[in-house]
């Protein structure tokens, strides 16, 4: 230990630090400045960036002692007396902040850079932030904020490109671009994420993870670990053996491996100790005796009869590892393809993906007179609540789940997790709070990401270019457990029945278990890979038939207000508008077929559910409930279980309630995602929150409005219908009543006190009555299109994505700034899957479980996004809104691949796209050409 002095944000600190302690630890744990984030602890994400003497430093790989005497600035030191720095203001104003976890590091990086180069070009800005990974924004709005700040600082204000006339809008709040209500807190580094919240006297939890993919646990000896001073508890699978899983039909996971391990990385034992170091050391002292079983790594292995070998799960029906088969057929596909004028059949292969949200999982659990409280980074407080009750055998009324600010989810925090069960149990055992923070490798092992997939798909077309028959045979690799897998199995197929009108349609999907970290739901759930296949086949058919691929799509879109072949009810539908918009924005007609070799343009379309109409757990409780409370002070408290994970749902609720009540968003407080205080919402998954919680909020606000108007009407003896509220004023049409919001609330509360109202949402009954008809049903669907332009180096196969023009029908943009952010983030994630992201394994062991090997595109790899919002005004969405957070991803990947085809003639059927594959494709083409000319 050594005493050092640090001047952090102009305050002098004396710290006793360990020899090899990192500066990030000192800043977070000793100075309590948790605005400095940890995302990877290996210098590859930039979240921990601080300034030392004005220069940016990765504090997670900086030994604290080296900086003895140094002047350090953290994000908390940037705002002065609470006043945001001009750059921070730009981040807020431009919507550069979504989950906010990368924001502090991003701000510090660029501020440090600007100290050296105060007037950088746009490329220099991109370069300067290229060591800071953002998973939410696609960097566009970050770069915009920085560019504007720089221009204004240097006296060249940029013309505001996007200022629209706002006066003619029928709404006063809806449709106005607005930064998130918590954006300032996030940009100042004050928003507390799960690992930032310190509960007094908390123990630290660490895990021992299996080093075998498939092995019986013969014996676990925890004696030595228990003896280590500082260790408070050591537990194994047998201590909490009750199984769970987000879907009731596949609750086959336990908090720790009970009898056997099913993947390398599965938790086998857990330790609670007074420090992280002791907990880690104790894990090393646990001895586990394994008996190896034959592992199954590949889909093909898991399809086969296992013979004498033990299956991964004994519950699978046959003697193989097939978890679920889903098959639906409308018409005879074999016949259909045979009778097609033109048809095409291709095989596709997709690697698994991880959500790679910037905030690693973290949780703290404690028990008191109210039972268990757990503060955890989750998208689904309600499901966690349920399964904690089940696993811990405690009634739900003794459990409180609190979701703090969450640093991104994308589906990766939408299951109940082992670490949450474990800290809850350890806290009960030790009588002390227990906290856990997963490192990045553990995040990758926890996974639940996109399924590795193989599929064969064929598409048949009629003589005048009508798409007629689609048949898909799909295999998905579920890894070791169920997760959302049964839904994924269906979604891969059923979500192919739009946006095109294809009446002869069938699919079979089989999900298998393998001895790898489990797959689950990830942004665009279930349909991203199969969408890629369809959009590729359409491109192929268009080429064969010599039809413009955009025109071919336009010809085949479903109408609005129609049913699909599998009886999905399509209401609002902005497919054609979306496609036409991107054609125009990209200059499609001028470019398609006219670009030089190596330069290409491509298109893709897509659609997605706006919330699943069917609930996961069957009961009659509404899918979302929102409560409002207004007391004498006039402030509206929205209470909702919906989980804002950075997508902006808290702000969305405030916008809806403000619009209905005719007041300003500033007068609204959102209390969200605390199962003790807020009514149940099923969670942030399947793009359901705007539609469902939004409708519930609207209903609650309408009831509230009526209560207020009734009271005012009675006070002034006027007819209620004559009254209205806008701009914080309640008035009658004849102006005989004109009072402030506050006065109206005083009137409305004077007899019975605080006003309350409630709203709820339930999806209407939808769909057919055949088996499997429920999968993919949604009260509404979103639609979109994207055009990508690429350059391919035909010598190296390297692809540079130059531009992406996207359009997405979100019904109505309640908050256009947030909608753009969701779209751009989706396209960025699509770019990653297309170009560089994959989970690669060596015999079940993940080879790239870190942010260096798992390649999220940096700011330098990300092209300009051109963003168009299409508003089809959904008849049932709140103010016409529907989803925008997932569907936009779908068209992006095939658009890039189709652009590569346009550039090179190489058809991409495997993701991520490897330069090597392009070169091989080019060689094959050359050979074919040669043979062809030879014949001639």
């Amino acid at each position: 230990m050594k005493q050092i002095k640090l001047y952090i944000n102009n305050k002098e600190y004396d710290f006793l630090v360990k020899g090899h302690e990192m500066l990030s630890t000192v800043i977070r744990e000793k100075a309590g400045l948790t605005g400095t984030k940890l995302g990877c602890e290996q210098g590859s994400c930039g979240a921990c960036t601080v300034l030392v003497d004005g220069s940016p430093l990765l504090s997670c790989i900086a030994p604290a002692i080296r900086y003895d005497g140094a002047r350090i600035t953290t994000i908390e030191g940037i705002a002065v007396n609470g006043e945001l720095h001009d750059l921070q203001k730009k981040f807020v104003e431009k919507g550069s902040i979504q989950c906010g976890y990368c924001t502090p590091g991003m701000v510090m990086s660029i501020l440090g850079y600007l100290n050296k180069n105060p007037n950088p070009s746009s490329n220099e800005i991109k370069e300067a932030i290229s060591g800071n990974l953002c998973r939410c924004t696609g960097y566009k709005k970050i770069i915009e904020a920085i560019s504007e700040y720089v221009s204004e600082k240097n006296g060249n204000a940029l013309p505001d490109k996007k200022k629209k006339a706002e006066s003619d809008s029928e709404f006063s709040v809806v449709g106005k671009p607005r930064s998130y209500i918590e954006a300032k807190k996030k940009v100042k580094g004050e928003a507390e994420y799960a690992d930032d919240i310190r509960i007094k006297n908390a123990l630290h939890c660490k895990f021992l993870r299996s080093t075998y993919p498939h092995a019986r646990i013969v014996n676990i000896n925890t004696a030595k670990a228990k003896e280590l001073p500082g260790v408070k508890a050591v537990i194994t699978g047998k201590d909490i053996p009750i199984s769970f899983g987000v879907l009731p039909i596949s609750e086959n996971e336990t908090a720790m491996a009970v009898e056997k391990t099913r993947y390398i990385g599965e938790i086998v034992a857990a330790v609670a100790a007074v420090t992280e170091e002791i907990a880690s050391k104790a894990c090393g002292l646990i001895e586990v005796e394994y008996l190896e079983l034959k592992p199954f790594f590949e889909i093909e292995d898991s399809l086969k009869d296992t013979g004498e070998n033990e299956k991964i799960h004994h519950q699978t029906k046959l003697n193989n590892n097939i978890h679920k088969t889903a098959e639906l057929r409308f018409g005879d596909q074999e016949e259909g393809i045979k009778n097609s004028e033109l048809s095409c059949k291709l095989d596709f292969k997709f690697q698994g993906l991880n959500h790679a949200f910037t905030e690693p999982h973290a949780a703290t659990a404690y028990w008191d007179e109210n039972g268990l409280t757990i503060i955890t980074a989750t998208q689904v407080p309600h499901y966690l609540h349920k399964y904690l009750a089940k696993v811990l055998e405690v009634p739900m009324n003794r459990i409180r789940v609190i979701k703090p600010y969450v640093g991104g989810g994308f589906g990766g925090k939408s299951d109940p997790f082992p670490h949450e069960m474990i800290v809850a149990h350890l806290s009960r055992l030790t009588g002390q709070p227990v906290r856990v923070r997963l490192n990045r490798e553990e995040v990758f092992l926890t996974n639940h990401g996109r399924h590795p997939t193989k599929m064969t798909m064929q598409l048949g077309m009629g003589s005048s270019g009508e798409l007629k028959t689609l048949d898909a045979d799909i295999l998905i690799d579920g890894g070791a457990y169920g997760s959302f897998g049964v839904v994924t199995t269906y979604y891969n197929g059923v979500l192919l029945q739009a946006p095109y009108n294809i009446n002869n349609f069938g699919f079979r999907t089989r999900r298998v278990y393998t001895n790898k970290p489990q797959s689950g739901a990830m942004r665009g759930h279930g349909a991203v890979n199969s969408r890629f296949a369809v959009e590729t086949l359409i491109d192929e058919l268009a080429r064969k038939a010599d039809i413009d691929p955009c025109e071919l799509r336009l010809k085949n879109f479903l109408d609005s207000n129609t049913l699909t072949v599998g009886q999905f009810r399509i209401t609002s539908n902005g497919s054609a508008e979306s496609l036409k918009a991107v054609m125009e924005r990209s200059g499609w007609k001028e470019k398609f077929g006219k670009l030089k070799e190596g330069h290409g343009i491509g298109v893709g379309c897509g659609f997605f559910i706006s919330g699943s109409a069917l609930r996961i757990h069957w009961n009659e409780y509404p899918q979302s409930v929102v409560h409002l409370k207004i007391d004498m002070d006039g402030r509206v408290v929205i209470s909702s279980g919906a989980s804002d994970i950075g997508q902006g749902s808290d702000t969305m609720l405030a916008i809806i309630v403000a619009e209905v009540l005719g007041i300003s968003v500033d007068n609204i407080f959102v209390l969200a995602a605390d199962t003790l205080l807020t009514p149940i919402d099923l969670g942030s998954y399947s793009s359901r929150v705007t539609f469902m919680a939004g409708n519930a909020a609207k209903m609650a606000a309408e009831e509230m409005k009526s209560k207020i108007l009734t009271a005012v009407a009675s006070e002034f003896k006027v007819v209620e219908d004559e009254l209205n509220i806008t701009n914080n004023k309640v008035f009658s049409n004849d102006k005989s009543v004109e009072i402030s919001w506050e006065d109206a609330i005083r009137i409305a509360t004077k007899k019975n006190g605080a006003l309350q109202s409630g709203g709820h949402y339930n999806s209407p009954k939808l769909g057919g009555d055949f088996k499997g008809a429920g999968a993919g049903l949604s009260p509404s669907y979103s639609f979109g299109a994207l055009v990508a332009e690429v350059k391919v180096d035909v010598e190296t196969g390297a692809v540079k994505v130059l531009n992406m023009w996207g359009a997405h029908d979100c019904g109505r943009a309640l908050n256009p700034l947030a909608v753009e952010g969701q779209l751009e983030g989706s396209w960025h994630m699509g770019l990653g899957q297309a170009m560089s992201e994959e989970m690669r394994y060596h015999e079940g062991l993940l080879l790239n479980g870190n942010l260096l090997g798992y390649k999220i595109p940096t700011s330098l790899d990300t092209p300009e996004f051109d963003t168009t919002i299409i508003e089809s005004i959904d008849p049932e969405g709140p103010f016409g809104a529907k989803e925008c957070g997932e569907g936009a991803l779908h068209p992006s990947i095939p658009a890039i691949a189709n652009a590569i085809y346009d550039a090179t003639g190489v058809r991409i059927t495997s993701l991520p796209i490897k330069p090597e594959d392009i070169l091989n494709g080019l060689k094959l083409l050359k050979k074919k050409k040669k043979n062809f000319s030879g014949v001639k």
Binding site: H20, Q42, L57, A62, G112, E127, L847
Partner: protein, 311 residues
């Protein structure tokens, strides 16, 4: 794991550093920027109880020009090279190579000396302690088999410095200080080609500066293959240099446990040199990009370098 009190020493002079390390031969590791070392330490690949920080030593920061030789101090941060007018004018490829290392944040701390001594990398080695236990420890972490090749013969961890190829292609020398004094070595000569122990400098010695001649008229083309335009280590870095006598040197990293160097007297020999370079690179499938592709790219990149230099 070493549980004893860990030390972090920050000597102020070379002498102080060398005297300490001479008497504690095994129990220490030098640290400069630390951007490579600390990640290896985090992953448990380095388990030293004592770090000797060189960043406080002024003698390692002295830039000088003498007799047409430029002495670039080893502690020069990668981000600072471009601020040096001599380097900018005479060796722009060095700046290009340095600017291709990792990310701007890393380059703000990482040093030129450190980049030359950057630990060799392998997908099967740069992993956590737990991971390496699960895979069965490889040759580079005291195991008896290379996971990639399945044999115990040799470790093929890649040499990944981006600046070394440029420097070696310009016949760079290094000033190395040890307790016995300062020696001048050919940079190329410190690399062993053994993936386990890739550098033959004695454990106590310290690179003081990198020495380049300014009167040779070097012209260098540098190219780097990686999946992303930032953050990534190299999968193939190539420098080709020619001087005013027409000599040509090819040097590559990312495809062998050491820099692969091929020299010729005239660019007419270039095709043969390329063949030799490809033949000499012992790359294996231990990178996110395949061995086959990287091998193929050597040829393409070398041709591109040639075209830019002589075309």
């Amino acid at each position: 794991m070493n549980t004893e009190e860990k030390l972090f020493l920050k000597p102020k002079t070379l002498k102080e550093a060398l005297e300490f390390t001479a008497s504690n031969r095994d129990g220490f590791k030098y640290i400069a920027g630390g951007t490579d070392l600390l990640v290896n330490k985090y992953q448990g690949n380095i388990d030293t109880g004592c770090l000797v920080d060189l960043t406080g030593i002024d003698e390692l920061k002295q830039f000088s020009v003498k007799d047409n030789l430029i002495y670039i101090p080893a502690l020069t941060k990668l981000s600072e090279l471009k601020d040096n007018i001599y380097i900018k004018e005479n060796f722009p490829a060095l700046i290009k190579a340095a600017d291709s290392v990792a990310s701007p944040l890393v380059r703000n701390t990482a040093t030129l000396g450190g980049n030359l001594l950057c630990e060799n990398r392998c997908l099967y080695y740069n992993q956590s302690e737990w991971w390496r236990e699960a895979v069965g420890y490889c040759l580079k972490c005291n195991g008896d088999i290379c996971i990639v090749t399945g044999t115990g013969k040799a470790c093929y961890s890649e040499f990944v410095s981006d600046t070394a190829p440029v420097l070696i292609s310009m016949n760079a020398k290094i000033e190395v200080a040890d307790i016995s004094g300062t020696n001048i070595l050919n940079l190329e000569d410190i690399y062993t080609g053994d993936g386990v122990n890739p550098v033959n400098l004695s454990k106590t010695s310290i690179i003081k500066s990198i020495v380049l001649p300014m009167d040779k008229g070097y012209r260098t083309i540098f190219k780097k293959l990686r999946q992303r335009e930032s953050l990534d280590y190299t999968s193939l870095s190539i420098a080709v240099t020619t001087d005013n006598s027409g000599n040509v040197v090819i040097c590559m990293s990312g495809v062998d446990p050491k820099p692969v160097v091929v020299s010729g007297n005239n660019h007419i020999d270039y095709e043969a040199m390329c063949k030799e370079a490809i033949k000499n690179s012992r790359s294996v499938d231990n990178d996110m990009l395949s061995r086959k592709y990287r091998k193929e790219m050597i040829k393409i990149y070398l041709q591109q370098c040639y075209d830019e230099l002589f075309g």
